[in-house]
């Protein structure tokens, strides 16, 4: 090896190292930017002050007590849990059927069905809310939690189809066929062979559907009427009465999300770095 090559290798190594350091510094900044808002709400939620002060003058649990003592907040939270649960169940059942149909089936019009199912992702919820308002008021669904749940199911459906469909593509269809070759009906084969294999994806999909509904504001604002969901109550509270109660609610929500992520990580798929 000549001296020139060694020198060039050396300088290349330095260039690479500089690029690496720059990359890591950049990523560090972006990660800081991403996490900063989540970190900020913690100290404020434990503040003893009635105003937004940072750092807080003292620490207490008064804003958590305030949240739990206010029936408006608690009702809104329960209503959101109810709507989210119904959405999760409905979207997971309908979405799984759609995913099986789209991944396994070959029939005319399949492409159109696929595009139809994915369309709600790209449609802004403001447009959907305005559109659905007319139909829902005819059906007397405006102002009811059921109406919001139906609309949320439409929005969660594509998410479920993506997650379950991706999982279905990874499992071997021949086991299902083998079961049928041995005399199992199609239904039994799907229930006993296919569904257990995609169970992690079903868990993920249900949680994703739940969170997508639990966090949704615009549809709930238009179709929910006076039945406030948690996001709507938070929106009003941010607009009109900034006090640390909302920080306490925020911390509880972040805790819920962490819990959900842990559960998905334990039982579900989709948040692991290796695919």
């Amino acid at each position: 090896m000549s001296a020139a090559t060694i020198r060039r290798r050396g300088s290349m190594g330095r260039g690479r190292r500089a690029a690496r350091i720059a990359l890591h510094a950049w990523c560090g900044l972006v990660f800081f930017f991403l996490v900063l808002p989540l970190v900020v709400v913690f100290p404020i939620s434990f503040s003893s002050s009635a105003y937004l002060q940072f750092p807080p003058p003292g620490y207490s649990l008064r804003w958590y007590r305030e949240f739990l003592a206010d029936p408006n907040w608690v009702d809104a939270a329960w209503r959101s849990v109810l709507i989210g649960s119904v959405t999760a169940v409905a979207a997971t059942i309908l979405g799984t059927l759609l995913a099986i149909s789209l991944v396994r089936g070959t029939y005319p019009g399949k492409g159109a069905v696929e595009q139809l199912v994915m369309a709600p992702i790209a449609l802004p919820s403001i447009v959907y809310s305005v559109a659905a308002y007319q139909l829902f008021s005819t059906l007397h669904l405006v102002g009811s939690w059921q109406g919001v749940a139906v609309a949320h199911t439409v929005h969660a459906l594509p998410l479920v189809v993506v997650v379950v469909g991706a999982s279905l593509r990874t499992i071997d269809v021949s086991t299902e066929m083998a079961a049928q070759g041995l005399g199992a009906s199609w239904f039994t084969a799907v229930r006993r062979i296919t569904l257990p294999q995609i169970r992690p994806a079903l868990v993920s999909a249900a949680f994703i559907a739940f969170i997508s509904s639990f966090d949704e504001l615009v549809i709930a604002m238009f179709l929910g009427g006076i039945n406030l969901t948690l996001p709507k109550k938070m929106f009003d509270s941010i607009l009109y009465e900034i006090d640390p109660t909302i920080a306490a609610v925020s911390v509880l929500q972040i805790a819920l999300v962490v819990l959900v992520l842990v559960v998905i990580g334990r039982f579900g798929s989709g948040v692991r770095p290796t695919s």
Partner: protein, 291 residues
């Protein structure tokens, strides 16, 4: 269902031979029926109804109103401009992050992924609220800056376009990172090593090999971010403080304050048209530049 009908109406002769396959076709098509039915009733029908409403009495009156007012045009281009800035910002911030996630050691990748996933799953309202605490005149950032003597009076960070941009980029960054990360995981790393071994400088490797190979991810992420930006409501409503107008806010105003459903419908249709146009344009761009 049209689909099932089409499947069932196969020629009788072939049907006997393909009866098993035909039965499965019917079965799989039938599985889609409940979901398709739901979407047809509560998704497609309302949208068609909205379209009808926008052309009320078979005229373009609402569209003429939308265009002639001038306000909509201003807000529309403002929205497109903001969406473009957000998309570029997400690309600049997100591309290196996606690369880091795809190449770092397992532990660091997990840490990085958590930093991206956790905010992604956190309530939009929680994050918006947190940015208000951070960016306000008496917010944390201004207090730190004034306290350190870097600025004399608080910087205007909230209730303006800057605040909206910060909030939107924060919300949309994961939507850019995930598709790019997914593509980067599949890139054959030996190609870059080969190019470097042949003496190509790092930026050439990046420009000639890595960028073209990851372009499908960039196109997918960029499309997603741009399209989602066009319909943003919560972030501009809260962080813009009424000073930053975007289409979604204008539509809400038409319905909520003016009770002008026809005009709101026309605005909705224009927004949908813009989204479809953007989608088609990005798709074309991605296909033309694909390796």
């Amino acid at each position: 269902m049209q689909l099932t009908a089409a499947t069932a109406a196969r020629p009788a002769g072939r049907r006997v031979r393909l009866s098993r396959a035909g039965r499965y076709r019917l079965l799989y098509a039938a599985l889609a029926a409940p979901g398709v039915l739901l979407l047809a009733v509560v998704f497609v029908y309302p949208l068609l109804d909205l379209m009808r409403l926008s052309f009320e009495n078979g005229s373009l009156a609402h569209y003429e109103e939308v265009v002639s007012g001038g306000l909509f045009g201003t807000v529309f281009w403002n929205t497109v401009r903001i969406a473009l800035i957000v998309t570029i910002a997400c690309a600049v911030l997100g591309y290196p992050v996606a690369h880091f996630l795809a190449t770092a050691s397992r532990g660091w990748a997990l840490f990085g992924l958590l930093c991206v996933v956790l905010p992604f799953w956190t309530s939009l309202l929680v994050r918006t609220y947190a940015w208000m605490i951070l960016l306000g005149n008496n917010g944390i950032i201004n207090k730190l800056l004034v306290g350190a003597g870097l600025v004399e009076r608080p910087l205007p960070l909230l209730h303006n376009e800057f605040g909206v941009l910060v909030g939107m980029v924060h919300v949309l960054l994961p939507y850019f990172v995930f598709p790019v990360y997914a593509v980067m995981l599949r890139v054959d790393r030996t190609l870059m090593a080969a190019a470097e071994g042949l003496g190509a400088p790092l930026w050439q490797v990046l420009r000639r090999i890595y960028l073209p190979l990851t372009l499908p991810g960039i196109a997918a992420g960029g499309t997603l971010v741009f399209i989602l930006s066009l319909g943003f409501f919560i972030t501009p409503a809260l962080l813009g403080g009424g000073k930053v107008m975007m289409i979604a806010l204008l539509i809400e105003q038409q319905v909520g304050q003016m009770l002008n459903w026809g005009m709101a419908a026309a605005m909705c249709m224009t927004l949908v048209a813009a989204i479809l146009l953007a989608y088609a344009a990005f798709k074309r761009l991605g296909r033309r530049n694909a390796p």
